[in-house]
């Protein structure tokens, strides 16, 4: 599915922009902001996941994005406007260091997934080992600014955050559709089917895989940084670690990794599920959402590999084909 600047997209965009000015319930706005930020994170994962590059380490990239931004601010007073680009550069470098040997020596499939799983473990270890600076597993809070809110990228108004999150999410969808329409998509589809045959068509397999991995890592780090600035609190449990890495895989797969809005649908479902359990059952339900995720993931991989949105769209398109034909 590609996103074209059709009138439908334009109207949807305007409605989404106007929404917080009409409807101001802070709790619902908070949920919407979380959905947008996580949708962006899941989209970032699916940018490479859709081509069979299954990473179980994207929590690592998200953690780098969040922690580098916050640490630069707390320890050096460096504005997130400079800190975020540095954080993205760190995540991109990390992606290169991990992915280049994998792709160069053709570590693919399950083995690639295991290497990336180790990556999120390593980032977690680094955060806890340097607890004097990072706060370890207790987490860390960006220091409240005494000066300009814009310079510190700290806003009290949820409407501002809603618009920032909306912009970042839309940016993620634009990157998705840009890749979708490029020759790079053909190259990646070819690589995911048969690397030797892709190379025989002239594709530089290693470079193409690195490119998509770095794009995905940069986007994920961006999601981490925005999350940190919005929540004003990060811990390994919320932005890094294996739990977050697996949550990204789960949500993206449930929503559908082959369609642009699939990861967004995945974010809506997982976040609403977590909220319903939290409100309905309170502390009794701690961890239930993970149990439900696990069961659903198994069900989806077996019965709905295209995800909810993907299956829905393809059933609509076969039905309309049948009517036309």
């Amino acid at each position: 599915m590609t996103l074209r600047p059709t009138s439908l997209n334009l109207i949807a965009g305007l409605v989404l922009i106007a929404l917080p000015f009409v409807y101001r319930d802070p709790y619902h706005l908070h949920i919407l902001i979380l959905i947008l930020i996580w949708s962006f994170a899941y989209t970032s994962w699916a940018v490479m996941g859709r081509f069979g590059l299954v990473s179980l380490g994207h929590g690592g990239f998200m953690g780098v994005g969040a922690y580098v931004t916050v640490l630069l601010w707390n320890h050096f007073g460096l504005s997130p406007w400079l800190g975020i680009p540095i954080a993205l550069a760190c995540a991109g470098l990390l992606a290169l260091v991990v992915a280049y040997p994998c792709f160069r020596f053709r570590i693919t499939g399950h083995y690639f997934a295991l290497v990336t799983l180790a990556l999120s473990g390593i980032v977690l270890q680094v955060i806890t080992a340097t607890r004097n600076h990072t706060g370890g597993s207790l987490g860390i809070t960006p220091e409240r600014t005494k000066g300009s809110h814009i310079w510190a990228l700290q806003f009290d108004d949820k409407i501002v955050w809603y618009l920032i999150a909306l912009g970042v999410w839309a940016g993620g969808l634009l990157i998705w559709s840009w890749i979708d329409r490029s020759m790079g998509r053909y190259a990646m589809e070819a690589i995911s089917e048969d690397e030797d045959a892709a190379a025989a068509a002239g594709v530089n397999v290693t470079a193409q895989k690195l490119r998509i991995t770095v794009i995905s890592a940069l986007m994920t780090a961006m999601a981490g940084a925005i999350y940190a600035q919005y929540q004003m609190f990060i811990s390994p449990d919320t932005v890094s670690g294996i739990g977050i890495s697996l949550q990204m895989v789960f949500a993206a797969v449930v929503g559908g990794i082959y369609v642009a809005l699939g990861p967004t649908v995945g974010a809506i479902i997982t976040i609403l599920l977590a909220e319903v359990l939290r409100i309905g059952f309170g502390t009794k339900a701690v961890g239930w959402d993970n149990l439900v995720y696990g069961v659903l993931l198994v069900v989806f991989i077996i019965f709905l590999p295209k995800g909810i949105l993907g299956s829905l769209l393809s059933s609509i398109s076969t039905r309309s084909k049948r009517q036309n034909g």
Partner: protein
């Protein structure tokens, strides 16, 4: 155009190709034959960069190719087909070929890639519409697609790997004529690896015969088929196929 010197490939203690040297002149079709496991495919894989040679040099238009990555060799002008067709099933027929046209020619322009794809598809006789899926192709169609992909990379030298396996006799003849047409009309030099000797002999200018990784004969088809070593190792005691090959070689003169 291609000068191969002292090519060696060892896998552990096993020597798959042992000190093979040969030349290919511009505009000729060289047939490469030999029994299973004689090293034909190994030579192809070294020429196309799937793996590097253990020793020896591969000089193409004065440029050393040994050890280069596959995409660099493609971009230098050496295209290949695979023994078993390897289409990208998630892409359409056109996209398969356009992909090769784009990356095989150095990723410059997608308009140029689409033109190359249209020409290549028309050349091999596949539909040039944008939506036809790969699913609908049979064995002969898949071989044509394989060839179209290789042609779209604009090769000067085409490595055609056993392109006739799985075809019936008339399809084989068509495919053999196709390779000749590619040489005659596009001026592409061809190295053709093939099991089925009769068809090959009808089309090639020269033949090289391999056995156990070594070159045992090289020359005109009519000379090679009567070489006693070739008869012994390649054709064995099956006198019928020897005669058929000899007849085919005779017929083309």
């Amino acid at each position: 155009m291609l000068v191969v010197n002292g090519l060696v490939k060892r896998f552990g203690g096993f020597t798959a190709v042992n000190n093979v040297s040969f030349k290919v002149d511009k505009g000729e079709i060289l047939g490469l034959i030999g029994p299973n496991g004689s090293g034909k495919s190994t030579i192809f894989n070294m020429l196309s960069g799937t793996f590097p040679p253990s020793a020896g040099s591969i000089s193409f238009e004065g440029r050393e190719l040994a050890g280069l990555a596959p995409h660099r060799i493609i971009n230098a002008g050496v295209g290949r087909t695979f023994q078993i067709p390897r289409p990208f099933k998630r892409l359409t027929i056109f996209e398969n070929v356009a992909l090769a046209g784009f990356y095989g020619q150095g990723s410059h322009s997608s308009a140029k890639a689409q033109e190359a794809a249209e020409r290549a598809l028309a050349m091999v006789g596949l539909p040039t519409d944008r939506t036809a899926p790969v699913d609908g192709l049979g064995a002969a169609g898949l071989k044509k697609l394989e060839l179209a992909k290789a042609l779209a990379t604009a090769p000067k030298l085409l490595l055609a790997d056993e392109s006739l396996g799985g075809l019936d006799e008339s399809e084989m003849d068509q495919a053999a004529d196709m390779l000749r047409k590619i040489r005659d009309e596009l001026g592409i030099t061809i190295i053709w690896v093939e099991h089925i000797m009769g068809v090959l002999m009808r089309v090639v200018d020269r033949v090289m015969v391999l056995d156990h990784g070594e070159k045992i004969a090289e020359g005109l088809p009519s000379k090679v088929v009567s070489d006693p070593r070739v008869v012994e190792v390649y054709l064995g005691t099956d006198a019928h196929s020897t005669q058929a090959a000899a007849a085919a070689a005779e017929a083309r003169r």
